[in-house]
Amino acid sequence: MSAAAPRSAALPDALPWLADAYEGRCFTADVNPPGAVHVAFVRSPYAHAEIVAIEAPAPADVLGFWTARDLPSHAPIPCIVPIVNRDGTDRADPPHVLMAASRCRHEGEIVAMVAARTQRAANRAAAAVRVTYRVLPAVTDGAAAVEAGAPELWDEAPGNVCFDWELGDAAARDAVLRGAAHVVRRRLRNNRLVIAPLETRSAIAAPVDGTDGFVLVTATQGANWSRDIIARDVLGWDPGRLEVVTPLVGGSFGCKIFVYPEQVLVLMASAALNAAVKWVSTRKEAFLTDVQGRDNHTDATLALDADGRILAITTDTIANLGAHLSNYGPFSSTNCGTPLLCGIYDVGLVHARVRGVFTNTTPMDSYRGAGRPEAHYVLERMIDEAAHELGLDPLALRLRNALDETQLPAVTATGIRLDSGMFRANIRRAQEEADYAGFAHRRAASAAKGLMRGIGMANFLETNGGFALAKIMERHNGSLPLETARIAFTGQGRVHLDIGTQGSGQDHRGAYADMLAARLGMSPEAIEVFQGRSDRLRQGTGTGGSKSMLSGSTAIIETAEAVIARARAWLASRTQRPEAEVVWEDGAFRLDGTPVPLMEAVRMAEFEAADGHPFDAQVTSTIRSGTFGNGCHVCEVEVDPATGMVRVDRYTAVSDFGTIIRMADVVSQQEGGITQGIGQALTEYCRYNADGTLATGDLAAYHLPQVSDIPQMKLVFQGTPCRTNTLGLKGCGEAGISASPPAVMNALHHALRGEVDGMIQMPATPQVVWAALHAEGRR
């Protein structure tokens, strides 16, 4: 427990233009170092091509020009997720290079960088760079990539297979399938999604005068982690040479967690030119180079006994990894998602095989939910398909198989230890809140207008806390997740709270201030919360996996306890009495019954230490247990058979998020997540041209959900406090997107039952639905 002062408190003194970013008052693009140099990138216009020649621009036109050959020595951007194949070998590890040296493997891959005085001049210079390519055949679909004769990307990955991984026991699976009364098989597509936060990525690097250090202002979901990957792993620097500052972030949803070539290249340019260097991504670049999410083909099997009890779920998935391995690339489809294939149900056996494959597409990584939405989609769609095949009511089938509250705590077939949950209660409550009873009436009303109406349900189980990731990040920070908080008393009754988690639009800071204020018996207005600065905290795990309230609160509570302990010791020695007589109660100390608020003691102890305040404390906490948010969503859609248009008419979500700290924030996280899931199910469609270039590469062609796509939702919260953390809270940020795609698609299939053959895959665009309704031999 040390309360060391921030390492480079002088950073904004050295670089005055950094002040707003440093205080978290602006977005990265708002930061304008005087005299900054701007860079632009020459990018491959082809999905797959050999670079034959690059013609450098005339030196007079640019301040700097770099191809892969011109870069200082460095290592590729690491993929930190190890995967052991079914045969015991390690996954392939082709290098995630900063720039293509001889071969481009996806559209938008960087071929060269130019620097100029203005962004426009840099763009123009980049556009004028002549590159000669030899175009190669490309493959963009994961399933096509493993077919014989498909174009191959990497020598290290024959047949484009990066890994062939499994979870569970294949022999046991075969035995269960042989003995099952019913075996339902389906192929499901989890469509590729462009994450598209409204703020594009950006990076500003600058040397810190008088040192050999640099500062990098850039959006991350964890400044410390990004700093370590960039400085230590890629550049081979002492991480202390680099400080990463993340100011306001305009949405991330996972995609800004990862280290991208541009962040490193901007630093290299800054070092080479000894100047501040700025880059802001265009939307076009974002479509081609921000990691994208999902993109699985899954052959799923659900085995049931004669009574409709689920015996096993097994999957065989092809997960598209894109052209390079992003930092967590293989994580979503394997360790993060598959343990949830049993969801909230009492499933005897889970077996999953996943092949991660390379294609000539943008690298893939964790998008909100990171594999959990994919798993829930498979499971919850399969339950509806099984119910249909067996002639059962999907809701009844869910109730029959859901874990009962009395079975808790329980360990799932995949080893998840569930402490609490309201699985059956959620289903029953959702049935009532969504008015299943009135559905027949509403369906008749729709039919009278020539529309088809369906209702669909999906349950979700979250596993939050960052455990799966911590396990594989062992090399970095031990096998349990850590988080750090620092509390400093800065005079005039003000408190600074530094925290290692990091919001990217969601308002963590308000919740933290409330939390700390309650612990210290003071007003939240006096507390300023800092995040996203590697220089202020030595450790910080960042945000991801809906764990910030859990890990942040754990660190804050433990640090607050340290503060109180320090204050108690100081008061005891000051008043010359044993510590036991200084009682902390109801937000104040009691000395012989006289209340002394903490801030009063803070004032008394001011100026006692030369460096900081004697009560300042910093604690790195270990997060020992995760949380398991759970709930049940019900969606009702109306389909116009003439056009194939699907309208989400009603949406109900019943959730158990334990104790809720700030209701408005939780509601917004729910609505935002559900909305993104509705986008996946109905509107967001990534299409490629035959040559492998992206056909839907802008917001005119790639349809994010608009206001008219989203109904007013009915959100119900019924929580059992989590038993394994002090506040009893459970993660909620990714829950919405886990349940909404299957809820929407189950409703759609319900609406179309008997009217279409086979299944409709996401996204169910009007054209897709219309084509299914008007397939040969129908209508």
Partner: protein, 442 residues
């Protein structure tokens, strides 16, 4: 962007930004969105989509809500604009709106805030007591990636109630369009200016043009501002014809009394063009020049046998769009003045717009005169809009049980078959739209 607008020799004039005069540079070729942070520092108008879709860069310019990415800054000498920051300082009558939008978790990251604030402001000026549907319509096409939108809609709903009760609701005064001092005021002056600068683009609302130029590799095309020509802003009925000036915005056409009474479906289609910002600034002329394959006006003007009036010539709409289809990348040689539409028709315009505020996939206009003669024009189905050869027979066929292949054969045009939609789907939609026309087949 890479275009230059001309300004008089010397200084580029001044633009009033949030109550402060800021000098413009002569021949500045930046958009307002690019210029703002460089000239005045960070503002809450933000770049996000690079395509004039999302609205995050919205500001109010001389009273009109605009996406700042569609405005060349060189055209703004003497103008007055405000970003959201100004209202955060001093909201005036809009205080309840500001307050409602600042509520807990109405937004998350807030990157999109300007889009919704200025759309709501514009809506409340027109419709002081909007229903939820009105608010949804005003937000069509705008993007927020963090929230589910409905909290924003609810906030505006609440603010509208509070503001309607207050005596000083901020509606009433119609903005007066402002034009650079040096911009031509007459058609003749504009034509003379164009002669002096061959290859220049006419700049009206800039909704298509500015984003287009920004992404084109074309070196420095010049712009000729035509918003100052009063003649282009006229709407009037002359005998049995309706004249609509090329400079009229979609919003003006939608709200125009003469249009609503003479050709209500024209007002209706104009009210569905683009989003609330496009309708406030985009013009009929701009739509006529860009002539999107699936644009909103072509089928209407072709079915109603309208004339297109350009400086020095009069063309059938049919011929105009055929010509434009060939030359979409080039500005038309002559200045377009407006359209003249016969009003003796009973007209019905039907469009299928799967994504609000985005172009219709297919649209159809039917026009029938008192003699019973029927004309039907179609856009979005084939590579270009077309007039149906035998409208009565087609209408009867679309309503009957004629199989799709035979219906398709009746059209001389092959349906487009692309990633957006298959030919079969376009045909099915066309059939639907034809069936919706309120005319009895022959």
């Amino acid at each position: 962007m890479q275009a230059t607008a001309t300004s008089p020799a010397g200084a580029g004039g001044t633009l009033r930004v949030n109550g402060r005069d800021v000098a413009l540079l002569p021949d500045d070729d930046r958009t307002l969105l690019e210029w703002l942070p460089e000239a005045v520092g960070p503002v809450s108008a933000r770049s996000a989509c690079d395509g004039a879709h999302c609205g995050s860069c919205a500001v109010v310019l001389d009273g009109t809500p605009v996406k700042s990415c569609t405005v060349p800054v060189a055209s703004l000498d003497g103008a007055e604009m405000r970003t959201l920051d100004a209202y955060q300082q001093e909201a005036g009558a809009l205080a309840p709106l500001m307050e409602a939008l600042a509520g807990p978790s109405v937004f998350q990251c807030g990157y999109c805030r300007s889009a919704f604030f200025f759309a709501a402001k514009a809506l409340l000026e027109e419709t002081p007591e909007p229903g939820r549907d009105d608010i949804q319509a005003a937000f069509a096409g705008l993007l927020c990636r963090c929230t589910g939108y409905q909290a924003i809609v609810s906030a505006v709903e609440g603010a509208a109630r509070a503001m309607a009760q207050a005596a000083h609701a901020p509606h009433g005064a119609k903005p007066v369009p402002r034009v650079s001092a040096h911009a031509p005021r007459t058609v003749a002056a504009a034509c003379a200016a164009a002669q002096a600068r061959p290859g220049a683009y006419w700049l009206a609302g800039g909704q298509h043009l500015v984003p287009l130029l920004q992404h084109s590799a074309q070196a420095e095309p010049s712009l000729l501002e035509i918003a100052g020509i009063a003649e282009l802003g006229r709407i009037e009925v002359v005998g049995d014809r309706l004249f609509v000036g090329a400079g009229c915005t979609h919003g003006q056409i939608a709200a125009s009394e003469p249009v609503r009474s003479a050709l209500p479906d024209l007002a209706g289609l104009a009210g569905k063009v683009g989003d609330i910002y496009v309708r406030a600034r985009g013009t009929l002329g701009g739509a006529m020049v860009s002539a999107w394959r699936n644009g909103s006006y072509p089928s209407f003007l072709m079915a109603t046998d309208a004339d297109v009036l350009a400086a020095g010539r009069r063309t059938f709409a049919l011929d105009w769009f055929a010509e434009r289809a060939e030359n979409r990348d080039r500005p038309p040689a002559e200045l377009i003045l407006g359209v003249e539409i016969p009003t003796h028709w009973q007209v019905s315009h039907q469009a299928f717009r799967p994504r609000p505020a985005r172009p219709a996939l297919v649209s159809v206009t039917g026009a029938r005169d008192v003699a019973g003669d029927l004309r039907i024009a179609v856009a979005g189905y084939g590579a270009r809009p077309f007039l149906v050869r035998d409208a009565d027979t087609l209408l009867a066929a679309a309503r009957g049980s004629l199989p799709d292949v035979e219906l398709a054969a009746m059209l001389d045009v092959l349906p487009l078959d692309d990633g957006e939609a298959s030919g079969a789907y376009r045909l099915a939609i066309l059939r639907q739209l034809l069936q919706r026309l309120p005319f009895h087949g022959a």
